[in-house]
Every structure is written in structure tokens, then in C-alpha cells.
């Protein structure tokens, strides 16, 4: 039976959580997973390119489009805004707008979809995608006569541009560089991780947009099984992936040193043992009381010398 999650106490209060990636434990299997992860993100890259080309075409037709990004922190989607024109105007005069779109794309279909006006487009390098035109409700601001345009790529087939990027990525992962050691501290424990990589890394393809800035593609490695994935997010500390020969070297002034080997192709999360929410406060208070007690004892035994002030007390200024 496949064990999804295992918890190991490494030393003192340091715990390692392992989550299986759910793949055969070979580099070949891992490569396939990386490829699949990239493939999932490629449509975003294609959409970014579509917007870049549309931006160029709008400029060429005398428009002054405004660039905006969505608030997605991982890969913000780019959209364009044509101020002064509403979505309804575009729809009403769509024949006039078509030269802008048809300069670089082939229009397959146009339709109204609720509050949006949509165009299904095709390009030989970018495949099939949809442009959505929308305008904010003018009742919020009567001067808000702007048409936002964003692209959504079709995901059922890989367009030639995406295939090229995928090939480039495959060449890169065929000969991966040796990952550097990752040193970190957890409380008083010094950890050195060998043959681990971060769960998210960035890949910048050589193909880049013309007008827009170069953007790397963030690739996150996730388990192939998809239930409870949220519980194992990077935000919860599951930040590293073990490779062949992965090991954790942990040392502590009191507990000494030890090395633990980690099975390859697991997601690793490091944490401390679970405590009550106010345990730290209580413990600090206890430590503080002990320190004061020790200080009182040493004061009785001999004069205080560590402070420049003769009384060893606070001086008010």
C-alpha cells in the first residue's frame, strides 16, 4: 500500500514530514512529472504571448492600450485596456475592430456570452484561444468607458510554441546541475540538506514576447494524486523535494550530530513538534523567571560587575 504521509522526529523537537510524489522512484518518472507540471502552466505563457501580439497590433492601428496584470501572485495574467471605448462599442462595430485582430490571428467565431463579448481565434504558432472583451458597470463610474481584453488559451492541444518550450525544458532537465547544499536553522538545530531542490523553481524559455517584459515560468512540483493537496501546500512548509542520495544532516550543541537519509522523490516539510498556542509564552515566562532567580543568587554571592552603573539598576535620564 502506498503511504501518503510519514512523520519522523529527527532530533529534539524537529520533525520531518514526508509526502510521496506518487511516481515511480526513478529520475525518468520525476522528469515526466516535471514535464507534466510545465505543461499545466504553458497555456498561461501562450496567453501572455497572445496579449503581446494583440498589444503590438493595437499600437499599429493607432490605439494607446494600457497594460494591467491580475493579482495572481504566481503568474499574474496580463490584460489590456482600451480606454475611451466600451465592450458594447466593439461589439456594435466589430467589423471595424476585426482588422486589429485579423492582422495576426484568424477569427473562427464571435459571440456574446452574458456580459462579455468573445472571439474564438486561431494562430499557427499559438493554437486556439479566446479573447474576452468586457466593460465595468458604468453605474460605478460613468466615465469608466474602457474595454478590458484578456485571452484564454484552449488546453486540449499543445500549440507549436508550447511544444518548442517543452522541448527546450526537456533538454534542460536531461542534464540537471547538482543541487547546492541547503543550510538552515530550526531553533538551536543546525540542518544541512543535501540533494534536495526547492519545490518551486523558475524556468525562462528562450522564446520571449516582443513588447512585454521577459518572464520566467514558476514550476511547482505537486504529487500526482490530487486529494488533500491543499494540506500539503508550500505555505504549510512543504517546500523541498528529495532527489537521489538525499540526506539531512542535523546537529545541536546538546544533542550532537546525526545524518538521516531520505528516500528520493518525496516532498519534505520540516517543523517542530505540535505545542499549545500559548506554550511559547509560558515557556519564555518560565525561562525568564529562572534567569532572574539565577541572577538573584549570583548577586547574593558576589558583586555585580557586568554593568557600568554601580548599582546595577536602571539609571533614569
Amino acid at each position: 500500500m502506498l503511504t501518503i504521509r510519514q512523520r519522523f522526529r529527527l532530533q529534539g523537537d524537529v520533525i520531518a514530514d514526508l509526502i510521496s510524489l506518487g511516481i515511480p522512484r526513478t529520475y525518468q518518472g520525476f522528469k515526466q512529472l516535471l514535464r507534466a507540471e510545465l505543461e499545466k502552466k504553458l497555456h498561461k505563457f501562450v496567453e501572455y504571448h497572445v496579449m503581446d501580439i494583440l498589444y503590438a497590433s493595437l499600437l499599429e492601428h493607432g490605439f494607446s492600450p494600457t497594460i494591467a496584470d491580475s493579482s495572481d501572485p504566481e503568474w499574474p495574467a496580463r490584460y489590456l485596456e482600451i480606454r475611451g471605448i466600451t465592450c458594447e462599442e466593439v461589439e456594435k462595430n466589430v467589423e471595424a475592430f476585426l482588422p486589429v485582430v485579423e492582422k495576426y490571428f484568424k477569427v473562427m467565431k464571435m459571440e456574446r456570452a452574458g456580459i462579455f463579448f468573445e472571439m474564438e481565434l486561431f494562430s499557427e504558432s499559438l493554437g486556439e484561444f479566446r479573447l474576452t472583451f468586457s466593460t465595468d458597470n458604468p453605474s460605478f463610474d460613468p466615465r469608466r468607458d474602457a474595454c478590458s481584453i484578456f485571452a484564454v488559451a484552449r488546453r486540449h492541444a499543445l500549440p507549436p510554441l508550447a511544444a518548442k518550450i517543452l522541448d527546450e525544458f526537456e533538454i534542460l532537465i536531461a542534464n540537471p546541475p547538482k543541487p547546492p547544499e541547503i543550510p538552515l536553522w530550526i531553533g538551536g538545530h543546525r540542518l544541512v540538506l543535501r540533494n534536495f531542490i526547492p519545490r518551486t523553481f523558475s524556468f525562462t524559455p528562450s522564446i520571449q514576447p516582443v513588447f512585454f517584459e521577459k518572464r520566467g515560468m514558476p514550476i511547482s512540483i505537486n504529487p500526482v494524486w490530487d486529494w488533500h493537496r491543499l494540506g500539503y501546500g508550500e505555505g504549510r512548509g512543504f517546500r523541498l523535494v528529495s532527489l537521489e542520495g538525499a540526506e539531512i544532516h542535523i546537529s545541536h550543541r546538546e544533542h550532537g550530530s546525526k545524518t538521516v537519509r531520505v528516500e528520493p522523490y518525496n516532498i519534505l516539510g520540516l517543523r517542530t513538534i505540535d505545542v499549545e498556542f500559548d506554550y511559547i509564552s509560558k515557556r519564555n515566562k518560565a525561562v525568564w523567571d529562572t534567569l532572574i532567580e539565577k541572577h538573584e543568587v549570583s548577586k547574593k554571592q558576589g558583586p555585580q560587575t557586568s554593568l557600568s552603573h554601580p548599582s546595577g539598576c536602571l539609571c533614569h535620564e
Binding site: G62, W288, L291, C315
Partner: protein, 466 residues
């Protein structure tokens, strides 16, 4: 007795243009055509003006035609100079001009309230009642936000001034320069960088010393919590000339009340005494300040305050430098930095687009460079030190902040290569060791909206023609 004010005489547009030309020397001939065309608006009602008024036989630019037809309707005064013509109304001025390659352009800029400042001379009025004034080019340039045009191969410089604004490079792209205020040699620039690092080094030293304090607290059994505060959270209203400075690291101890800590401060000095020499303790009521020193890092003060607003008892400790610029660690870091500067890499070309203009900057570096010393904190994550070069002048450096677009420093052989499909290519050289900002000329708030509307109408018209 009231003073008699007489209206200037009314002249037909050809006559009006003639007397303006006599006054100004030379004026682009196209302005005469525009003036004649504008006179056709005379006598038309407001409803008819957008459709019937302008003939627009003086331009082939369909977008411009639509713009003028739709948005230049009600004109109070016409202002003319040797190279510009402005149609002024209550809120804005539509400025016509001719580009370096002889192309007519038009921009709308916001008009300030009240009377316009400048040198005007009333020449006449047109038959439709519009007054015609002559003025100088500088009046229009001020509104458009540039001072001079930089031709191909020109060298743009601050020439002994603190700053030089508004070199129009091509179309609507404008460059502003601010001198670094140093002799223009690499040796002096290196010295400036070192000085800049030295000025900001205390932030890094505070970070390293806080790291040692954290270690001491851990070793004494406490479980401190860490918290970062950036400069924007510290209540600074205006952007600093320094981009993204290192955030301030706070060490928070939960479970100990401020009062308890205050009464037993010697417990803390014992912890601090593990790595530092405690010099003095000052109680300032709302905060306790413990001064301490280290042979390697210099002198610091730990400011202890109650932390947070909740019922939970917490205190925060922040470390500030009291003099670490000459400490052995600071000197070591500065020397290391200088060594890396001795072998500078050739700066890579910086490429970007400004509208339809492709800009390539050669021999420019980003104003903020990042230096990671070989000394690293023990517990805390390694952080590079951001070194942002600011001008050494009597100017208000906040006006030249990175946030305002002053992002690049010119080095020896700096040049801006700019290309546009219609305007062609040109290269402008930049005097070394200036801070550069690239921007576009000023336009009115809703110029983009209006121009987009005009472009869309032009497309519509093309479609109807087809």
C-alpha cells in the same frame, strides 16, 4: 471715468497668419491651413460643429482627423509660436507641432486654472471672435514637459548644473538627467559607491548583531519570535531615494511583560553579556535602551518596548547602530566591496519599449546594485545589501527617487539607441555619471481615452469605405 477698452481688429485667417509670420519670422505653412479651416467653425451651432465645422484637408492622418473633429470645438484663444500652435479652451490646450521628420503631431495638455503665464502679444481676432496671440516656443515646451530636442549623435549632459530636464529624444520620449555631483571618473564613482555602502552598512550590521542577540536568547532557553518591518511600514510618507532598503528585524519575546522585563533588566544584560560588553542602561519610560559594544561590530543600542496591542504580554527588541562605520567588520565588508568594484563586469544592454519606441541603453547600470558580503549571519537568512546611488548635491534627493523613474546610471560610453517604425533610428550619447529617467511628454488626463475613441472611429470609417 471708466477706461475704454477696444477689441483688436478682426482679420481674415490669411491676413492673421501673415501678421503672425511677420512677428515670429517663420511658421510651418500647415498652420495657415489649420487656421483657415478653423475659421469655418464660425457661425455654426454647437450641434453642427463636430460634423460640419472642420474640413481637415490639411492632414491624411485619419485618427487625427477624428480627434480634431470631435474634440476641438470650442476655442477661446489661439496661441502661436515659431513651431507650435495651441487651441486653448477652459480646461485644456490642444497643441499642434511638427516633428523633426516633418510630421504634424497633436497633443492635448491640461490647462492650469487662472491666467496663463508667459509672454503673449495679442495680434488680432478672427472673424468668428477667437483671439490670436503670439508667444515663444518655450511656453509650449513647458506644457509638453521638455526643454530641448536632442538630434542624432548629440551628447546630452547636465553641463555643470545639478540636473537637466526634458531632452526630447524621439516622438514623445523624453530623457531627464540628474548629475551625481562627482568628478566624472570611475575612480570617483567607485568612491561614491563605497561611501553609499558605508552610509547604509549600519542596517546590515544591525541585522548581523540582532542575529547574535537571537543566538544568545536561544542559548539561554528563550524562544524568540522574529518579525520584519519595512521602511514603508515605518510611517515614511514619501519614497526614499533608496530603493527597498533592508527591513528592520524585530526580536519578539512572548510571555514576558514589559514591566517584568523592566524590573529585572539585569537578566537581559546577562544574556547580552554572552557576546557583547554591556555599557549602559537607560530607562526612558516607554522604552528601555541598553547600549552595548562588540570588538568586531562596534557600538549598538538595543531598544526594548512593549509589543503589540493584545492582552498577551510581549516585548520587542530592535538593535540600532551607535557607531559601526569604522569597526573591523565594517572595514572588512567595505574592502571586500571595493575589491569587487576593481573588476567591474561590462554592463549588459538594457532593452525595453516605451509605447512604440524600442529603447536600448548601452553602458548604463541599474541605480540599485546588490552586494552580498562573504560574512553571513549565523541564524538569519543571508540578505544582500542594496546599494542605491544618490546624487551628492544640494538638491532634494527625494525628487530624484527611484520610485519617480530615476533608475539608471550612465557610465563611460553611455548611449541611448532609440528606434521607431515611422521616426527611424537614432543614437544619443549621455555624459557619464548621471542618473537617467526616461518618460513620455505630458498629456491631459483623458487624452488617451479621446485618442482611442478617435482611432476606433478611424477604423470604423475605413471599414465603411471598404
Amino acid at each position: 471715468m471708466s477706461k475704454q477698452v477696444s477689441l483688436p481688429k478682426a482679420l481674415p485667417p490669411t491676413e492673421a497668419f501673415k501678421i503672425c509670420k511677420e512677428k515670429l519670422g517663420s511658421i510651418p505653412e500647415i498652420f495657415e491651413k489649420i487656421l483657415i479651416d478653423y475659421s469655418n467653425l464660425s457661425g455654426l451651432s454647437n450641434e453642427l460643429r463636430p460634423t460640419k465645422g472642420w474640413q481637415l484637408d490639411w492632414t491624411d492622418d485619419r485618427v487625427l482627423k477624428h480627434y480634431v473633429k470631435r474634440y476641438i470645438r470650442y476655442v477661446g484663444n489661439i496661441l502661436m509660436s515659431a513651431n507650435y500652435m495651441g487651441f486653448e479652451n477652459v480646461t485644456s490646450i490642444h497643441i499642434f507641432g511638427v516633428t523633426e521628420d516633418g510630421k504634424l503631431f497633436m497633443n492635448e495638455v491640461d490647462r492650469p486654472r487662472g491666467f496663463l503665464k508667459g509672454e503673449f502679444e495679442c495680434m488680432c481676432r478672427l472673424p468668428n471672435g477667437t483671439m490670436l496671440f503670439v508667444t515663444n516656443d518655450e511656453f509650449f515646451k513647458r506644457f509638453l514637459g521638455f526643454t530641448t530636442f536632442a538630434p542624432d549623435g548629440a551628447v546630452i549632459t547636465t553641463s555643470g548644473e545639478d540636473a537637466a530636464f526634458g531632452f526630447r529624444l524621439q516622438g514623445d520620449v523624453v530623457a531627464d538627467l540628474c548629475s551625481l555631483g562627482i568628478p566624472r571618473t570611475f575612480q570617483h564613482f567607485k568612491h561614491l559607491l563605497r561611501e553609499e555602502l558605508s552610509r547604509r552598512l549600519y542596517v546590515y550590521m544591525n541585522y548581523c548583531v540582532t542575529d547574535l542577540l537571537y543566538a544568545a536568547l536561544l542559548e539561554h532557553g528563550l524562544s524568540p519570535t522574529l518579525y520584519d518591518r519595512t521602511w514603508s511600514e515605518s510611517g515614511t510618507l514619501f519614497p526614499l531615494p533608496y530603493e527597498y532598503d533592508l527591513p528592520e528585524r524585530h526580536v519578539v519575546i512572548e510571555g514576558v511583560t514589559y514591566q517584568d522585563f523592566r524590573e529585572n533588566i539585569n537578566g537581559f544584560t546577562r544574556i547580552l553579556g554572552k557576546y557583547f560588553n554591556v555599557l549602559r542602561i537607560r530607562d526612558e519610560g516607554e522604552a528601555i535602551k541598553v547600549e552595548f559594544s562588540s570588538d568586531d561590530f562596534g557600538t549598538f543600542v538595543a531598544v526594548i518596548k512593549p509589543f503589540g496591542y493584545s492582552f498577551r504580554s510581549e516585548i520587542s527588541i530592535v538593535v540600532y547602530s551607535m557607531g559601526c562605520e569604522t569597526s573591523p567588520m565594517a572595514v572588512r565588508i567595505l574592502d571586500e566591496f571595493e575589491k569587487t568594484l576593481d573588476m567591474p563586469r561590462e554592463p549588459s544592454e538594457i532593452r525595453f519599449w516605451l509605447g512604440n519606441h524600442r529603447v536600448r541603453l548601452r553602458n548604463f547600470i541599474s541605480r540599485t546594485i546588490r552586494f552580498t558580503p562573504s560574512y553571513e549571519p549565523i541564524f538569519f537568512e543571508n540578505r544582500p545589501i542594496p546599494v542605491t546611488v544618490g546624487p551628492r548635491l544640494g538638491v532634494d534627493v527625494a525628487n530624484y527617487a527611484v520610485a519617480y523613474g530615476y533608475r539608471f546610471i550612465s557610465l563611460e560610453g553611455a548611449e541611448i539607441h532609440i528606434t521607431h517604425r515611422e521616426h527611424g533610428s537614432k543614437t544619443v550619447k549621455v555624459e557619464p555619471y548621471n542618473i537617467l529617467r526616461l518618460r513620455t511628454i505630458n498629456t491631459s488626463n483623458d487624452y488617451t481615452r479621446k485618442r482611442n475613441k478617435a482611432a476606433f472611429r478611424a477604423l470604423n470609417e475605413e471599414n465603411i469605405d471598404v
